[in-house]
Symmetry: C2
Amino acid sequence: MQKFLIPCFFLVSLIGFSQENLLKYVNPFIGTEKMGHTYPGATAPFGAVQLSPDTDTISYELNGKYNKDVYKYCAGYRYEDETIVGFSHTHFSGTGHSDLGDFLVMPTVGKLKMNPGTAQHPETGFRSRFSHDEESAAPGYYQVQLKDYNIKAELTATTRVGVHKYTFPKSAESHIILDLMSGIYNYDDKTVWTYVRVVNDSTLTGYRQTNGWARTRTVYFAMTFSKSFKSYGRKDFDTNQVYKGFWRKFNQNENFPEIAGQKIRMHFDYDTEEGEEIMVKFALSPVSQSNAMENLLVETPGWDFEAIKNQTQKSWNQELNKIQIKASENDKINFYTAIYHTFLSPTVYMDVNGQYKGLDQEIHIADGFTNYTTFSIWDTYRALHPFFNLVQPSRNNDMVKSMMKHYEQISLKMLPIWSHYANDNWCMSGYHSVSVVADAIVKGIYDGDENAALDACVETANKRFYEGIGDYIDLGYIPDEKNGTSVSNTLEYAYDDWAIVQAAKTLGRMDVYETFIKRSENWKNNFDPSIGMMRPKLADGTFRENFDSQETHGMGFIEGNSWNYSFFVPHDPEGLVKAMGGKKKFTDKLNTLFTMHLPDEFFAHTEDISREGILGGYVHGNEPAHHVAYLYNWSSEPWKTQETVRHILEMQYKPTPDGLGGNDDCGQMSAWYIFSALGFYPVAPGSENYAIGSPLIDEAIVQLENGKKLKIKSINNSSRNVFVQKVELNGKEIKDFTLKHSDLVKGGELVFYMSDKQNK
Amino acid sequence: MQKFLIPCFFLVSLIGFSQENLLKYVNPFIGTEKMGHTYPGATAPFGAVQLSPDTDTISYELNGKYNKDVYKYCAGYRYEDETIVGFSHTHFSGTGHSDLGDFLVMPTVGKLKMNPGTAQHPETGFRSRFSHDEESAAPGYYQVQLKDYNIKAELTATTRVGVHKYTFPKSAESHIILDLMSGIYNYDDKTVWTYVRVVNDSTLTGYRQTNGWARTRTVYFAMTFSKSFKSYGRKDFDTNQVYKGFWRKFNQNENFPEIAGQKIRMHFDYDTEEGEEIMVKFALSPVSQSNAMENLLVETPGWDFEAIKNQTQKSWNQELNKIQIKASENDKINFYTAIYHTFLSPTVYMDVNGQYKGLDQEIHIADGFTNYTTFSIWDTYRALHPFFNLVQPSRNNDMVKSMMKHYEQISLKMLPIWSHYANDNWCMSGYHSVSVVADAIVKGIYDGDENAALDACVETANKRFYEGIGDYIDLGYIPDEKNGTSVSNTLEYAYDDWAIVQAAKTLGRMDVYETFIKRSENWKNNFDPSIGMMRPKLADGTFRENFDSQETHGMGFIEGNSWNYSFFVPHDPEGLVKAMGGKKKFTDKLNTLFTMHLPDEFFAHTEDISREGILGGYVHGNEPAHHVAYLYNWSSEPWKTQETVRHILEMQYKPTPDGLGGNDDCGQMSAWYIFSALGFYPVAPGSENYAIGSPLIDEAIVQLENGKKLKIKSINNSSRNVFVQKVELNGKEIKDFTLKHSDLVKGGELVFYMSDKQNK
């Protein structure tokens, strides 16, 4: 990646775009408290390694059942916790289900402890107390003082290598623990197999295979220490293994270089002087130990921690400078932290030599593109991928190529639903990859075989056995009896089908167009005109009697109730207005949504949002209604988009650890913020159109990859002056609340004239 | 491999060596009853696939403990059993511990059964009754009638592909089961992970990872059917798996192509006509699914079962023709079955593209050699590898190269002890790889870097932490207190050290020579002159008081008692004669060994030999005394070698399923037979010398790889005329009972003049 970024940087310099230091506006702790599920550790832009502290070891299961509390630890770190168990190398950002946490490393001093201990009694294990006063984080850098050991821990990372620097006190009993059992959403048999070989007195390689959210997942590693360890050992925690065989000939626990088993922790022992620094470089690979070692040697050839950190931070600053803004300090922190969060994933998923493991569990070479994984597409198709199409089109082109490889390699022949590390975990509904593909085709981003991509969309959309698609195709909706989330599925499929239509139109594929334009109207089948809302329909064609429009669970929806999902026709707001009885009734309904009072029971039943994530009955903490504030543009009170968006921007995003009202969801929440802060939003990806909102920033310069600049200005803007009076693009007034992507990427000046008056 | 054999065959033809049909003398059932532990199924010479019936599903553990009965099923098949569970693709030949049994395939008719059932009630599962009357086997071919289903099952194999032909009755419920949980020496969690993808309606690929005798082992496969299945499914037997995730969206049990988990069986369903043949090709790879598919396509491009079988049988016949003999029909059956058994392993361990998985669990390419695995070296260094040096020197050269790659790849930096499938299972004692390496160097077989090979021997012999080597180096013996098999270890190390000396001498490495010539005399440290036998010695230098020279267990020996091990100085019979008090006393001791009566308790305590495997106190069923009959050559009654060897040849090898008195041990028992039947034996591999015995055959022509022929004749030979009066090699009389390898490989004529008179 960095090879790519450096020439880009020079190109940018040549055309006179000067870089600001924007790192200081990124606060990686935002979202680490409450529902944000972000992590504060060190990573490179879209890096394969996310090296970050884990503050507990909570298990996915408790007494054989799902342990609800595990949910809080989706990113490994909770701001409210007081101990750190160690630093592991892989983390999702903002997810609402989880996995990863591979290869936890922890430095200790004193008597060797081979278990993590408990939060209540950290002294019983290798974890340590810490304080936020002695902790800091920035893009590509994290540091904390480990109180129990008087060790300063510093972390940085390149794309594929995590780099640790530990400053020890004087001790004859200094240790570095490598925990190969630990993990996020861990449970007793999640680690399927572990293999380690100690190559010499400062190098080891190996791999770990897990069975979790990703069902068949192996991560290979190479680990090097800046100082030779004086001794090392392992502890085998597998009590069930019947067969130990003739390995009993050896003492495998001490200084024994061949290690394999299901549940293993290792320790590396040192004498340290006061203030002695020991560094660890830890490279990952999806393919092999030798690839991990190659990644390590190519990306981090030396032992200069500062140089590695500076290089990664330079990369980050280049990425952040893609949008320069004028805004208040707090807004700048929210804005650049949002950009930071949007550039964490999808993550690079290939070695420096181009190899990666595919969905067929075979080794492939990414020929002419960068392969990515971590596709939380139900979330990210909405604003993140459209945002990439604006500021990261090269990467998004490669992401679509990665999705196409996924499609080619998986024997089910489907585009990804939610994929990570050569697995689809099948989380959430819809087949929204087609939206990402269509948006890239419609906006001219995808330079692969567009017709093959469209064919993949069509094949995915025709998998009859997948979540009611067969019924959906036959009946135009999914009978409530057959599927617990029949309504949201139907609505999402209908939107996705419309996205396919847009790509088909672009490519002149009228056969596809005809079929899917009809399917795109299927939302109407779940619309009950008698209540003007979406409602589960039975196989016999009647609407379900037992129905509560405020309830999320058991009512035919996922992560949203009927009130939120009734507006899920992003591709046909006019149709929805009509169905709801015209502009007035539509407006009333929107007003009700944004002002209703929800009972406390609502929150008790809803896992990943808090009252702070709610505006009336509008749930910003989950995604299905992310476009809804912009639907006022189609109502009789269009200025309400402007005030509502500004309200959400200020209420749902704060520059504090608890500043996110819901899961950041791999950058979707942050992408919503960035678009909205710039004054427009992609209501229906797959369309060129952005709906105009109300810009938060005073000025922004968007550096486009084509070398052009888009300058956005909001005249007379303030927290009172949220109403847009006029919008001009390159001097031409925009009359229909709509901006076109193809116009914006020509560059120039977009000016919003603001006032405290609603523009009726 | 076949590419190599074909030109070889033509070369042979050119020089006028006409091939006999020798296949008919091979009876693969020999050794399938009692202790032989051979398998009757289909395999190519040194083939990676051993496709053979398994007659039970016995587990390695019973109620959490070792299940003694599992031992009988080392090769999967017991002649006395009445049911066949299925046909699996990997088997050891003759081992006394086990593993493998991968990918069991079973055709059935009628109601689908997804468990194997029991031997007592086969109708409860998919297994079938069978009868030996409807069963036959030959090299490269096995067939049986499955009574319960009226299915004829036929098997053949190429090097890397197992080929099944099933002739079905008419049925709308015909099935082919693929059991991915079954295995030899199986236990509940032995299968670590399984992955399968159904590529189309007649093809699947996948892999299975196990944790058994080989700790970290993955076998990849590609499976194709000659007829499209009408439906398929899986059953998941994993009751412990906590996390099933969003895969619950699917019905994974029926026609679902993405399959993964720990415990899986699959079925493929057909309508069949009466007499309809369905073939299955099943290719293995140690590297990847795509390599397995490549192996399949390269080795078995079509669906002509007879052609594949004929090709493999032609290969076998070429191999068998390396020695043509005149002998009785029964002796021919014993002889060629012995050759067949010696050419089963080591097994080819690389794909057609040259890739294999190394001891570092990484993918390597075998550059310029064929990589082998299945090295049961404690057994096979004695006669099997010396036999290869005579008739398979190219293969043995590659086997040494494979051992050197093992050494380079394993982080312990040791030559193999007992290795299979990229693992050392560390079974048995000594570091006898050094014997194989030295023998190949001394005989000029090894064309790799000989000094590097010697260095590997020296490094292996200096692993202080391995089985008492540290004490052995420091004290010259291993104290009884520290090691349960201290005496046999010391004796075996001393021999191995002498083998290193021979290689060092050949290479002029006097530094190594000096060190190891001293170590080679360490056998003297365990020799107790007061009893004239080997005996455990304590750390204080005194011999252990509590000592029973007939007892094997707890007396400091492995697979042999003091009586057998006291003669384990193969490299210095003269020294042993002297230590035992001269030729008379030495002769008396040998006489006692071969005539003593062992109590019944002896057999109760000894796992892998029966009374039939015993001659007096001499145990032929285990290996440590395999050279001892030849030690009479150094006694005052040298003719007793001749009569004893002939006695063993006739007593221990019979052309019947129960014809082997002990484990064939990957061909060592058979190699002893072949050498002895030809009239000579390598008492101390690493030496050029063969000790002369008494040939069983009337005439033999050994076709050497250098194009020369060694003709062996025994004049006036009979079961009474076992005594050698004179031996001439190319007309020159041999006076010292010793033949030299370098003389034999020049070809010519070796003539034994036989009589019923002892030649005193």
